[in-house]
C-alpha cells in the first residue's frame, strides 16, 4: 500500500505509520481526506436518496398496513399492493436475476459504479466518515489526535464519535428489523423495553455489523470480504469506463514552481502532490494503474481536478476513460459511441426480456392459489350406504388483499357427491384456509382402482357475484378400494 505524500501534501503523512494488526493482514490505518467535486456530489446525492428510502420506507403505510414488510413470522411479503407468499419464490428468483444482470450491465459500461456510489458499505462509510470529520476534524487533525497520548480531550472526542456511531448503528439495526416485523409495533416495544429476544438479537447483530463495517473495517470489507470485488474484473473489456490516470500526460511527475514552464523542464502535468492518494478510501495510488482495490469512487478525480484548477492546467489528468481510448487518444464522443457494443447490448436485451416477462407474470398472476392434498390417513372408505368416500384437503390462499368467496366444484365421476362444511368458502384478504372436502361416488364408477378427478375453484370478489369469477382447476385422484 502506497502512502507516499508529495511536496504540496502535508508532512504529517508519516503519521499513518501506526500499524494496526487486523484479522487479514497488517493494515495501515487510512485517513481519507475529505473531497469535494462533481463525483463527491453525486455520491452524497445517492447517500441521501438510498438512506431516505431505507430509513423512511419502513414507516410508509399502505391499505392500513406497512407498505413494504417482509413479514417472515407470518410468511407473507407485502410490497405496496402486492402480497407475495412462499409459493411466489419465482419472483424472488426473477429479482435476483434482474439485480445480477443490472450489475453486469453497469460494470461492463463503467466499472464499479455500484461500489463507488450505491453499495451500503460505501454509503455507511461515507456517513461514518462525515461524523468522524465533524467530531475529530479533517485528515490532519485526526492523525494528530491519534498520535497524542490519551488525555481528557481525546477521550471526549473518541467517546462522542463512537457514541454517535453506535446510535446510528442501532437505529440502522432497528430499521433493518423493521422490514421483517411491523416497525410501528416494534418501535412501541423498543420504547417500552419489551422487544422479543429474536428481534432484539437481530437489531443488535445488524447494528454491530454496521458499526464494525463502516467504523472499523471500511476498505477491508471491499478488499477481503466482498465477493463482487474479486470477480468484477472479468466483466471489464477494453471499452469499459474506468478511473484512469493519464500517464502520458502526467509523467514524468514532480514538484515545480508555479511560474516555471514545466514542459520546457521536461515535466509532465502531475505535480506529485499526493492528493489522489490521500483522498483514496482504499489507500491505493491510482497512478500505478487499475487495481482491484479501486472501488471506483472517483474521489481521486475530484481531488486531482481541484489541484489542476489551482495550478492552471486542464482538468482530467485522472478521469473516467477506457483502455482503448487512452491507447488511441480517442475523444469523449468516440468513447460514448463505443458504449453501444455487443456485450452491452446483450446485457441490456436480456435485462429487458426478463423485466417484461416478470411484469407479464405479475399481471397474469391469479389472485388466489389452491393446493389439493389427498388425505393420507384413509385412502378410501366404504361409507356403508353403497358408496366410496375419499377425503381431500384443499389449501385455498387468497393472495390478494380483497376478501373473496370461493365455490368448489368437483367433476370427473358420474353421480359424484361433494360435501364440505361451507361452500362457498369465505376468505378475508391475504389469508389462507385448509378446507376438508369429502367426495362420494359409486364403487363401479372407476374400473382401474383410481380415476382422475378435477376440482374447479371459482373465486369471486365479495359483493360482486355477477362478475366473471377467476377459475383455478386442480387435478387429483379418486381411489376405489
Amino acid at each position: 500500500m502506497d502512502t507516499r505524500v508529495g511536496a504540496a501534501g502535508d508532512a504529517a503523512g508519516s503519521a499513518a505509520d501506526a500499524v494496526e494488526q487486523s484479522l487479514y493482514e497488517i493494515r495501515r490505518k487510512i485517513y481519507p481526506r475529505a473531497v469535494t467535486g462533481n463525483f463527491a456530489a453525486i455520491r452524497w446525492a445517492l447517500v441521501f436518496l438510498t438512506q431516505a428510502v431505507f430509513y423512511g420506507l419502513a414507516w410508509l403505510q399502505w391499505n392500513g398496513r406497512q407498505a413494504v414488510l417482509f413479514d417472515i413470522a407470518a410468511r407473507k411479503f407485502y410490497i405496496f399492493g402486492l402480497v407475495l407468499w412462499p409459493q411466489d419464490i419465482v419472483y424472488l428468483t426473477v429479482l435476483l436475476i434482474l439485480s445480477a444482470y443490472s450489475l453486469f450491465l453497469f460494470t461492463a459500461v463503467a466499472g464499479r459504479l455500484w461500489c463507488g456510489y450505491a453499495c451500503p458499505q460505501t454509503v455507511y462509510t461515507e456517513i461514518f466518515l462525515w461524523i468522524e470529520r465533524k467530531v475529530e476534524g479533517d485528515r490532519l487533525a485526526r492523525m494528530k489526535l491519534d498520535r497524542t497520548a490519551t488525555n481528557a480531550r481525546k477521550l471526549r472526542l473518541k467517546a462522542t464519535k463512537h457514541g454517535l456511531w453506535i446510535a446510528l448503528s442501532l437505529w440502522t439495526g432497528f430499521t433493518f428489523v423493521g422490514y421483517f416485523t411491523p416497525i410501528r409495533e416494534l418501535f412501541g416495544h423498543v420504547v417500552a423495553l419489551s422487544v422479543g429476544p429474536w428481534e432484539a438479537f437481530w437489531m443488535l447483530f445488524y447494528g454491530f455489523a454496521t458499526y464494525g463495517n463502516a467504523g472499523w473495517m471500511r476498505e477491508q470489507v471491499c478488499k477481503y470480504m466482498c465477493p463482487y470485488a474479486r470477480f468484477q474484473g472479468v466483466m471489464f473489456d477494453p471499452d469499459t469506463l474506468v478511473i484512469t490516470y493519464d500517464r502520458e500526460r502526467g509523467e514524468p511527475r514532480g514538484g515545480r514552481s508555479k511560474s516555471a514552464d514545466h514542459k520546457a523542464a521536461g515535466l509532465g502535468d502531475c505535480v506529485d502532490c499526493g492528493i489522489c492518494v490521500q483522498v483514496c478510501p482504499t489507500g491505493i495510488d491510482i497512478r500505478n494503474g487499475l487495481q482491484y482495490e479501486c472501488i471506483g469512487c472517483a474521489a481521486c478525480i475530484d481531488g486531482c481536478n481541484q489541484v489542476m484548477d489551482k495550478v492552471g492546467y486542464p482538468r482530467g489528468l485522472i478521469r473516467y476513460s477506457t483502455e482503448h481510448a487512452v491507447k488511441h487518444h480517442e475523444d469523449r464522443a468516440s468513447i460514448l459511441r463505443r458504449v453501444l457494443r455487443p456485450r452491452v447490448l446483450l446485457y441490456t436485451g436480456i435485462l429487458w426480456i426478463v423485466l417484461i416477462a416478470a411484469a407479464a407474470m405479475l399481471w397474469q398472476r391469479a389472485p388466489f392459489k389452491v393446493d389439493v392434498i389427498r388425505d393420507r390417513v384413509a385412502m378410501a372408505a366404504d361409507t356403508g350406504d353403497g358408496t366410496v368416500q375419499n377425503v381431500y384437503r384443499l389449501q385455498i390462499m387468497n393472495t390478494d388483499e380483497a376478501p373473496r368467496s370461493f365455490t368448489i366444484v368437483a367433476s370427473g365421476l358420474p353421480d359424484l357427491e361433494l360435501s364440505t362444511r361451507d361452500n362457498p368458502v369465505e376468505l378475508g384478504g391475504a389469508t389462507s384456509r385448509m378446507v376438508p372436502v369429502r367426495i362420494k361416488a359409486r364403487p363401479d364408477a372407476a374400473t382401474h382402482g383410481s380415476v382422475e378427478i378435477e376440482f374447479r375453484i371459482e373465486g369471486r370478489m365479495q359483493g360482486a357475484a355477477d362478475l366473471t369469477p377467476v377459475v383455478i382447476v386442480e387435478k387429483s385422484r379418486f381411489i376405489v378400494p
Binding site: 484479522l23 413470522a73 429474536w198 428481534e199
Partner: protein, 101 residues
C-alpha cells in the same frame, strides 16, 4: 489456528449460511418441522435464527476442513520439536522447516 484462519473459515460460511437459510425457509415452513417427533414450535423467528446459526456451523465445518486439508506434505512432516529442542546430533537442529524421512 490463527485469527486469520478463523476469519477465512467464518466469513465464507456466513455468506453461504445466509443464502442457505433464506432458500431453506422459503421452501420449508418451520412450523411443519418436528424435532425427534416433537413440533419445533410456533415461533418462526426463533427457528429462522437457530437455523441460520446451524447452517453457519455446518458451512464453517466445511470451510475448516478445506483449510485443514490445504496443509502440504512438508507442513505435515515438519518436525514438531523446536530446533533447539531437537536431540543433539540431529542434523536438522539449525533448520526450523526441517522434517525427517
Amino acid at each position: 489456528m490463527s485469527p486469520r484462519h478463523l476469519i477465512h473459515v467464518l466469513w465464507p460460511a456466513f455468506i453461504v449460511a445466509g443464502v442457505a437459510n433464506a432458500v431453506f425457509f422459503t421452501i420449508v415452513d418451520p412450523i411443519d418441522l418436528s424435532l425427534f417427533g416433537w413440533p419445533v414450535g410456533q415461533n418462526r423467528l426463533a427457528a429462522y435464527t437457530i437455523g441460520f446459526f446451524g447452517f453457519w456451523a455446518v458451512a464453517a465445518g466445511s470451510s475448516a476442513l478445506t483449510c485443514f486439508f490445504q496443509r502440504s506434505a512438508a507442513e505435515i512432516n515438519q518436525c514438531p520439536l523446536e530446533p533447539d529442542a531437537r536431540p543433539s546430533g540431529c542434523p536438522k537442529r539449525e533448520d526450523p522447516q526441517a522434517h525427517c524421512g
